[in-house]
């Protein structure tokens, strides 16, 4: 009976019902897209770093695992010392630079030979390797997304580069230039942001890490095998705060809309509440009716929100093919829980008011 009544109630005011459902859907979409975007970018970055094929990564002291946050404070000569450590097969210094021209990208400044030794080399879809100071390599996703072809000019970092080749994705960055060029453009002469190291055998990683830690105490030395698991938002305090803030904002939207919607509903249905009370409905019954209606609205909002999330994801990926947005099942459940809890909290005050209404006053309500 309650289900029937709820269905009739939500259909009785279709505009208000739609607005409430859309607000909950926006809440769910906001949560899923913000989390999906951040975790997608992190996992994508991590996979690409892992894809380099190195065993160890060396960064300056206190450097973030999110390498784009780090500058270039390491002298490049460190690479020579690292190369002399026993069981180190190859060392590839890399200079990182953020590019904000036509989107956000990380550019790797590499020494092609050492990078090839560590990574096993690029797989070329088209073109050739870096040779000249103005050469740039782009990965296939970037080329597809930005419709870039070999031989074209690409304007990044305020500089015109010649697209020398298109390579298979998954080797750290989407854009690669010569290290010397990037050092020149970023004013970081003889500096590197990170050293990727390949051991003779992967099982020698721990031993080599020990040796590096002795040689460069306080430097961040990490096995790349663990990198993917480290690249989570919880290891990036600022990002975690951002995600929490966005979730709070989304939950706040849901809370306020449900509060307003249900408050309006009980004001409008004051006489109906009086009728229910005259029929002997308890306070609990009235609270149950209102909260059940809220849950019904939230469930509809969640379904719409999930559909909207996948639509927004598709739109984003169509507009920015290099983005990764992960809509994880665990976050689908969490977003649903956030929407329902926010809705129930928002509806609890109107429900409380309704349950305590004086039946005589309610029946006399015009």
């Amino acid at each position: 009976m309650i289900r029937h009544m709820i269905l009739r109630n939500v259909m009785y005011r279709p505009v208000r019902t739609c607005i409430t459902i859309i607000a909950v859907a926006i809440e769910v979409t906001l949560v899923l897209i913000v989390v999906g975007l951040t975790s997608g970018m992190l996992s994508d970055t991590a996979k690409r770093i892992e894809g380099i094929g190195a065993d160890i990564m060396v960064q300056p002291p206190s450097a973030s695992i999110f390498m784009a946050f780090s500058g270039a404070p390491m002298p490049i000569e460190i690479g020579q010392k690292l190369a002399q450590i026993k069981n180190v097969r190859a060392v590839a210094p890399v200079l990182l630079q953020f590019n904000s021209t036509n989107g956000l990208d990380i550019i790797y400044g590499i020494d092609p030979e050492s990078f090839r030794e560590v990574s096993g080399g690029f797989v070329f879809h088209d073109g050739r390797d870096l040779q000249n100071a103005n050469d740039i390599l782009v990965d296939d996703w970037y080329a597809k997304g930005r419709k870039v072809k070999v031989g074209e000019t690409l304007h990044v970092l305020g500089h015109d580069f010649n697209v020398a080749g298109i390579v298979e994705h998954g080797k750290g960055a989407r854009l690669f230039v010569l290290m010397s060029t990037l050092q020149e453009l970023s004013g970081a002469r003889d500096k590197a942001s990170v050293f990727f190291i390949r051991c003779d055998h992967p099982e020698q990683t721990a031993k080599v890490i020990g040796a590096i830690s002795q040689l460069l105490p306080h430097y961040e030395v990490r096995p790349l095998r663990d990198y993917l698991s480290l690249m989570t938002s919880s290891n990036l305090p600022g990002l975690q705060t951002f995600i929490h803030s966005m979730i709070m904002l989304a939950a706040g939207i849901g809370f306020l809309v449900i509060l307003l919607s249900m408050y309006t509903t009980i004001i409008e249905r004051t006489r109906e509440i009086g009728v229910l009370k005259s029929l002997g409905a308890s306070r609990g019954y009235i609270v149950r009716v209102i909260l059940s209606e809220t849950i019904a609205l939230c469930l509809a909002g969640i379904l719409l929100g999930v559909a909207m999330s996948y639509t927004v994801r598709w739109l984003f990926l169509t507009a920015f093919p290099t983005l990764t947005i992960v809509v994880a099942p665990s976050w689908l459940l969490r977003a649903a829980a956030i929407a329902i809890i926010g809705g129930l909290v928002g509806a609890s005050y109107p429900a409380w008011i309704a349950s305590r209404k004086d039946p005589v006053e309610a029946l006399a309500y015009e």
Partner: protein
Amino acid sequence: MEPILKTENLWKIYRAGRLDVAALRGVNVDVYPGEFVSVMGPSGCGKSTLLHVIGGLSQASRGRVLLDGNDLAALGDAGRTLLRRHKVGFVFQRFNLLPTLNAKGNIALAQHIHGDGFDPHRFDVVTRMLGLTDRLDHRPSELSGGEQQRVAIARAIINEPKIVLADEPTGNLDTKNSENVLGLLRQLNKDLGQTIVMITHNPEAAAYGNRVLHMRDGLVVDGASAN
């Protein structure tokens, strides 16, 4: 025979700003099972207040209300809610049907709140008696005033209450529908032995009852007891 409803020195005082206004000033009434009592009196004499207090919708300020042996004055909100659910059926002047539900839903809602679930046999008997069988799928907005009041009566009696309290049940109806509704109430009283207390302004309507109780200034001035 014990009265089904008995009030003893019943007072109801409202607070209006800084003033206390006594709507009931020591009402003593007995209603016996199977009676159809009409309550008459001028506006503001306390008729509706009496109905609200004896139906457990509001609490008495002083005195006792014994409904089927239960003292309403001693019951809290939850106790009075239970009493309304199991022993009282209300019929209002403005019908007070839920606009979102059809006639069937409005009647079945009372059964649902009562807690025994939908009883198709009782439902069938009541709707047939009230001539509602072909109007059950219609919403209140699609029913005439007379039909709406018949649905409200069906809702009031569906759970076989000890007493039906009707507050100006014909106040919003034309003459023909008023006669129809009053006839139905009398039929319920005669055929089913349903105890009814009805408030009305109209002496003709009051005549449908088998006792008329007159109120003035918060007091019952005539007809307080069948004796």
